[in-house]
């Protein structure tokens, strides 16, 4: 069973990276995919339990009336979706109800997960590789989980046969480089590092240069956590991204913004201001294994259209998973995800 999970993860990651699926998975592709979805949903059942009392009330109602809509609105707000995204969703569902397409609580449940799934899946998550090397810059506020995400991502890439170089660009936080070195060691990736307090741009440049010299497939660059309102630090980030572009034309190819799933409406400000500094191409939603529901990604998607590419649903290496909008919507908002179909 454990092995099965690993293989499912491989297939999903291969798709995420635009790679050919690993050989051992030429077995019925549908079966493997279902297994992976199950794991994704299983790991997401805990947050669902936290929201279910509210949604359970909505879904249990025989008729859909004004009180049902209010309950639904509150459930979405409690999931950190934010007011504008909540109103969007409720309005869309009200319109469907007006056409007679939703008449009961269960109908509403299906329509809600459909609506959320469709919205978030407007762009399929991709972190295309294929550059020599592909450079990925990882950014975010303090404590969002950048370093851990890089560690897990390096592991997934390595196990798909990609050679990875990690640039330890967080030269500010005490022992950040040591933390990353442990992850690099676990993943069998090389790490490029300098002394604490070094210029992060120089580290990033060296990492890309090393990636080119050693023919690496992927260069992952860590950055120090910074609050999006710290103009000087955002300026520094812009510089790091620029330096990476000097080291290799067209780089960074992907900029991932890491957001903690417990984040409230400030997440919108994070997405806005980080996007102004660097070309954020995807979100990584971390720590979705607690009571957090991560509704903020709906607010961000609504305003900025940035797709979620990965979610972190646990501490273990294989708990970083490619994002599946449907599974996410089902796990968090569907009445029957806990029982697993």
């Amino acid at each position: 069973m454990t092995e099965q999970k690993g293989e499912d993860g491989h297939a999903a990651f291969a798709t995420l990276f635009g790679l050919d699926a690993p050989l051992e998975e030429s077995t019925p592709e549908g079966g493997a995919r279902r297994g992976f979805l199950r794991r994704f949903k299983e790991s997401l059942t805990k947050p669902r339990q936290a929201i279910s009392p509210q949604l359970a009330g909505v879904y249990a109602s025989k008729l859909v009336n004004e009180a049902t809509w209010e309950d639904l609105e509150e459930a979405l707000i409690t999931a950190d979706c934010g007011m504008p995204a909540t109103m969007d969703l409720v309005d869309a569902l009200r319109a469907q109800a007006g056409e007679g397409r939703i008449t009961s609580g269960t109908g509403l449940a299906r329509a809600l997960t459909d609506e959320i799934g469709t919205r978030l899946a407007s762009k399929p998550p991709r972190i295309e590789l294929g550059h020599d090397p592909t450079v990925v810059l990882v950014v975010g506020v303090n404590g969002s989980g950048k370093t851990t995400t890089i560690g897990k991502l390096a592991h997934q890439l390595s196990s798909l046969g990609q050679t990875v170089i990690i640039g330890a660009g967080d030269t500010f936080r005490a022992a950040a480089v040591e933390q990353l070195a442990v992850w690099a060691d676990r993943a069998g990736a090389d790490i490029v590092r300098q002394s604490p307090g070094a210029d992060p741009g120089a580290v990033a440049f060296d990492a890309v240069a090393a990636g080119r010299a050693r023919n690496a497939d992927v260069v992952l660059i860590d950055t120090a956590g910074r609050l999006q309102t710290q103009n000087n630090l955002m300026e520094e980030l812009r510089k790091v991204s620029g330096v990476v572009g000097k080291a290799m034309e067209g780089a960074p190819h992907h900029v991932l913004l890491v957001i903690d799933a417990t984040t409230g409406q400030n997440g919108l400000s994070q997405a806005r201001l980080f996007s102004e500094a660097v070309p954020v191409s995807g979100l990584v939603l971390t720590k979705l294994d607690g009571v957090a529901r991560g509704g903020i990604v709906l607010a961000i998607h609504r305003e900025l259209g940035i797709p979620v590419v990965m979610v972190g649903v646990g501490e273990a290496v294989e708990d970083l998973q490619p994002f599946d909008a449907r599974a996410f919507a089902d796990a968090i908002f569907s009445p029957d995800s806990g029982s697993g179909e």
Binding site: D80, A174, W183, Q230, N231, T263, N266, Q270
Partner: protein
């Protein structure tokens, strides 16, 4: 879209002035505005409901209905209710009657426990105490090293055992060490954990029962959304914490989590983390937090900040020269630099009532760059030029523009502005120090 609540309420009420009477529909509209504003600030929904009910009751009373400025009355009521819910006055950290005082730091992953541990240790050290930090995070790679580095930075010893996988044993060793070496406060840093992870919560209980803390402190990220209450309640149920440190409050998070946790668990907010550096930990002021959640700015913090960073002697010297009516470009530059010393302009602007941060962020960024250029222009002038701006003729302007990497137009603009300021000064004569035109 990020209008402050006070702006919103003014919008709702301004049309009503002079009519003398508010209809229930007006009140409902105002309540919706308040509700939205609180939700945008991440105040948890049950607390929002509780608040709006209390506010509505007071808002429909005479104090608002008969007022000629109903909008201001409502804002005042909201502010009062928020402050009341947040506990009124500030609370400090309890010390044990017989040392060592033991403080146990708990929280989710990435909430900022380790950083707060070091900040707290530094604060206590400055208070004349002899703290010891204990590193009990055996899970996150290099977590202990992080505390060790921070310990060296703040000058506080750290007890750790990188080979150990038993946090309870490390904690026990830390207390014993403190007793042996006469340390009077022990701050125990623990691994981040999910409130629903039973095994990890059990471990926390074991640590607590071993070290018998004077206070258990929950560290909460100021950016936390609606889950703040659930998380806090779960930690409270497991280890009964005594107070909260709200971390990362230096960004633009409104920090509704603080209000929610205080309202639901009744536990006070003790400190707030306000920056990356180890000295950025401040006592919590409930009234200021209320203003922040309302988006009403924080004038008191701004004044405090100014007092801390502005050199009194410098300010006096400039003021004297202003009274004499001869402001030089050097003074102008100095004043600019004093304002900048207080921190990024965006942060300062956010403390000024009426400046909702998110909405004006773009303008502020531009301003920051403009000030850079003004500094460069003045720095490219010779000493005589700075003392007597009227000697700066066309060729000098070209040289200054070239030297500062700007254009002659920009130099002209600055000089024109400066001339205007000088005129203003002269007219004000013996008045106090005017503020800079920042726009």
């Amino acid at each position: 879209m990020f209008d402050t609540l006070s702006d919103k309420l003014q919008g709702i009420f301004s049309g009503l002035r002079g009519r003398g009477k508010l209809t229930p529909a007006d009140i409902d509209k105002a309540m919706r505005g308040i509700r939205l504003s609180l939700l945008e600030a991440d105040v948890s929904l049950p607390v929002v409901k509780q608040l709006t009910t209390a506010i509505k009751e007071r808002a429909t009373g005479d104090e608002v209905m008969s007022s000629i400025t109903p909008d201001q009355q409502v804002v005042r009521i909201v502010n009062e209710e928020l402050t009341r819910l947040m506990g009124g006055t500030k609370v400090g950290l309890a010390m044990a009657p017989s040392p060592p005082t033991v403080i146990l730091m708990v929280g989710l992953q990435g909430s900022g426990k380790t950083t707060c541990t070091a900040k707290l240790a530094r604060l206590l050290l400055n208070d004349g105490r002899a703290p010891l930090m204990v590193a009990c995070d055996v899970y996150r790679p290099a977590a202990m090293e992080q505390l060790a580095v921070l310990g060296a930075q703040v000058g506080v010893p750290v007890h750790m055992d990188t080979g150990s996988t038993d946090p309870v044993a490390i904690a026990r060793g830390g207390i014993a060490l403190a007793k042996r070496t006469g340390r009077d406060v022990v701050i125990v840093d623990t691994a981040g954990r999910l409130s629903i992870d039973d095994a990890m919560m059990a471990e926390l209980v074991a640590i607590r029962d071993t070290v018998k803390p004077t206070s258990v402190v929950l560290v909460v990220d100021a950016m936390t959304g609606q889950t703040a209450v659930e998380v806090a309640s779960a930690f409270d149920a497991a280890v009964q914490f005594d107070g909260v440190v709200l971390s990362k409050l230096d960004g633009d998070a409104r920090g509704g989590a603080a209000l929610s946790i205080r309202a639901v668990t009744g536990k006070p907010i003790l400190f707030v983390g306000t920056g990356e550096k180890v000295d950025a930990l401040e006592p919590f002021h409930p009234d200021r937090m209320a203003s922040r959640i309302l988006g009403m700015g924080d004038v008191l913090s701004l004044i405090e900040k100014a007092e801390q960073t502005v050199d009194v002697d410098d300010a006096k010297r400039i003021e004297e020269r202003l009274r004499g009516g001869n402001l030089t470009l050097d003074d102008f530059l100095e004043q600019l630099q004093q304002v900048r010393k207080m921190g990024p302009l965006g942060q300062i602007m956010g403390m000024i009532p009426g400046f909702s941060k998110a909405a004006k962020m773009k303008d502020v960024e531009v301003d920051e760059r403009r000030i850079d250029r003004i500094e460069a222009i003045i720095n490219s002038m010779t000493m005589p030029e700075r003392k007597r701006a009227d000697i700066i003729n066309g060729s000098r302007r070209r040289r200054i523009a070239l030297g500062s990497g700007t254009t002659v137009q920009e130099v002209n603009q600055l000089l024109a502005q400066f001339k205007q300021m000088q005129k203003l000064m002269k007219r004000m004569g013996k008045g106090g120090m005017p503020s800079l035109p920042m726009g």
